[in-house]
Assembly symmetry: D3
């Protein structure tokens, strides 16, 4: 039995060392790096770092887009840090829209779990790929391309979007153009939109300049 515990101990010690970087639960208080957050000490990691209940409930769709996006990226779900995957919940009420947007840092795989969603993306060659999806259907959106989802039925739709990165990012077109201080003159010059349109949308979305 002594031998047994010898080997148990020695191998345990070894495994414990070797185990470094099976995972790297984000220490959100620590510094960020190009590869993700620094790691929480392994000794303080619990199963709750790898589990989230934050997507159980519908997001609030009482807003102009009648939709809500609830992310579980590194910042909300530290267990995915460094693992190259994350997820978000989409709730899209009847008439709702997830506006034209991109994820600069990863590809998206959409799974519809309720209702009907018309989703599409545009390639660098300006080709349009659009389809109406029902419960159980999946669609993939390659990294960095403009895409959108709109409710295609009379009822609230629910979908889950997985990403090939723990921090895919999200750039919503209208917010990028109209919800900040990018001067109207530059928006107009670089989008060919007229002054009235730009000013109107800036007013709606809280942009200035």
């Amino acid at each position: 039995m002594i031998h047994i515990f010898l080997i148990v101990c020695s191998l345990f010690t070894f495994s414990a060392h070797a185990a470094v970087q099976d995972f790297c639960v984000a220490d959100l208080k620590g510094p960020d790096t190009p590869a993700g957050y620094t790691c929480k000490p392994a000794a303080t990691v619990t199963v709750d770092d790898f589990v989230s209940t934050g997507l159980r409930f519908a997001g609030n769709t009482s807003n102009i887009i009648k939709a809500a996006v609830t992310p579980a990226f590194s910042a909300q779900f530290p267990g995915v840090n460094g693992l190259g995957i994350s997820i978000a919940r989409l709730d899209v009420a009847a008439g709702g829209v997830v506006p034209m947007h991109t994820h600069p840092g990863g590809s998206e795989l959409l799974l519809v779990t309720q209702g009907f969603i018309t989703a599409g993306f545009v390639s660098s060659a300006n080709t349009v790929y659009v389809k109406t999806l029902k419960k159980g259907d999946i669609m993939v959106f390659p990294q960095g391309l403009l895409h959108f989802q709109v409710n295609a039925g009379g009822v609230t739709a629910v979908a889950f979007a997985s990403f090939s990165s723990a921090t895919p990012g999200l750039q919503i077109l209208d917010f990028a153009l109209f919800a900040n201080d990018l001067p109207s003159k530059l928006v107009e010059a670089t989008t060919f939109l007229d002054d009235a349109t730009v000013k109107k949308l800036k007013a709606v979305l809280g942009g200035t300049g």
Copy 2:
């Protein structure tokens, strides 16, 4: 208007060239490479390469594990080729089990969409992380580690597992040990299982040697 079409044409041409490798839909008849399958010619790609309806319906759980796994990896869903993401549907009937297994090529993010599932994984340090999940809960399993899912309720559970690779692979422990021609002597020597146990499971799972 001529100018307009000049720019339209010239920019289109440019974009068309630049667009190479927005995506690389798998040509399943072409050769495989370490980075994935070769690409289908862009001109032959349609939206149906990026959409799959194959996960709409429950898999057949009339089997000894009372569970079914339906993958949408590159081989079943060519649109994900090279995009670093894929998905699979899990149906686990009451009393069903997705046996102990690993994905050599990627991390897994599990989303429960129906019923209750007890899921867990073991780290290189031999620490166990196990939790019972309900509808809307997510859990992440770091790459290459042994993990499992078992039905934790009286009703069929459904879940979707996303992966950080288009070809995560799947190695089911019992199949690796008992469903092939790995000699019983070697199985016993490397697992400390006794001869009777190994022979019995080989008989059940169709192994030889």
Copy 3:
């Protein structure tokens, strides 16, 4: 001397084998892969595969944007295939604009070599980073984010944009939205632009639907 040639021969043979994948000049007739084109046989590679004179001369800026973009990506410059770098020349006449766009596949480093350019990008947090650059100034645009360049002087400006990918891609916002068959109804729903604006720009850029 025999020894010398022994070693010369043997080491040459070795080096020749080992040399595989110093580089992988694109065989544009071969299949594409997620990692780039297949390689031209090493024996047929010459220095001209690694050199391009295609950026010597200004592109034609007689068009509505008064600008021209001349790429040297894998498709135009096969020597960069697999090397994670490429370049493009920008010519922007007085009053010219490189419209709002993204590169889904890589970051951009802009170098101004003539004239004045006001360049900017918007982050996922919708923060605007904009600056006017003169000859010798550089600016970096992180992967996948919307950015633009406009002539900021009375004379033609020239710049060179390097990319962290041999195939960074290019998605020009107006072309993605208005130069294809994406239905106006969907464009309007996902951008909050009004019908008149969408129809007008589709007419100008050759879009339908």
Copy 4:
């Protein structure tokens, strides 16, 4: 001579800056990241960070597996941090065994330097690849797949395993299943092993539950 020192100085300064990240010797007291440990200041790095004598001597094989594994991963050999390579020494006495295990984080290349070893792995397709190796033979085990090594002669065998990661990890099957608090009920349900077998191995390996 002044010119000479001008150039020497200026180029030295430049090189010193440019040199950042030739290497990143692990600061084991610093935080870990998904890409490895933070770096020791370059000024404090010495040749001994890149050299290890820890594999000179045989590990202690007086244990139930009659084998010892001595790793030189980042945690034991800080010089490999971030370089994508590491190594371990295997000592396998007559009758000894390196039990069925996986490396979640990297592929392994085994080199036998003494004696005879029968080694094998099982693929995701459950195909077995097994061979007996002698001094000077090499065998590669693809990332994340179950594999093993057993002494195949009457004398102690020695081998060195190189890995494609500085932290490949190590998950020993029996330790993952039987040397922790994973409830027997779950082990049995997910492995099809009977209660007696599970309880017996838990007793031997110090498992509970």
Copy 5:
């Protein structure tokens, strides 16, 4: 309008979270990691982190090589940290030379903006690829291979070298061999250069031993 601001707020909050790692401006005072420096807090980042004017002016070529290299790598240009790209300015006076060197960490794409440069590299197969370039010409040098640039005209040449890494490194052959304390005996044994040559170059370049 309340609804509008609801959505504005909620989406802003989301975007702000999601935005993590659009970019990672180097905190040069923070620790370095295998993937680059830790990130400056996003709140402190300004456009000037993404812009550099350091390459506006010619470097000092009054030195033995009649050339100057001015880098904009992470250490000089923190905005490129983690983005996989950087740049350097080359000034090569008449008769000037950028001596034989390598970049251990990245491929180089050279753009000539003034004068004439003869550039070349040698492959692992010892094949030479050399060409004389004029204004607007580009040449790519695959990662880690020996290459050089020499002025090929009567006037000062200027070029910009882009790299596929934010920290490509630079190893100048003569400095590696003759400007440090590598013992002459070892230099001679490993380069086949005679003692007089080694001692002479060590004297010129400040080497010892």
Copy 6:
């Protein structure tokens, strides 16, 4: 029993699909790609693709360097293709030398298995790291940096070098400079070696020009 075979079959089928890219044994007759060779059909793969006996025997050291390098890279050992690891055997007779060289594509981890070797490398900061190694000692050489090995005892030394790439490449300094048609004028201008030295070494190593 029918159920059993149902599940066996169904899971086998699934595994077989999912298994794609556990490994990618090089099809040396197929095209090369930036990520490695295309894959041999899985059905034709045998254990002998993963095993090599080519390093069992000493290389021929009857040559000017009194040393031999025997590689097991993708081209010689197809099983490592795409796995990010490879190995080579070094035989260095008394007085023998592995001349100054680099591996453009990977880091090296050296293991001495017989005799004594003095090994060293030079960093981008021109710092020298040199040490004499004995049997069982290991030393790591970061990617792309100049390094060397010389016999440090009266007897033949043997070592095995592992690499973090299946195709690390090898650039031997003297061969790159003197064993090809790189014009002596350019060698002299870019290395500061005198004409006599260059001409002498070109004569010895078979160079021209």
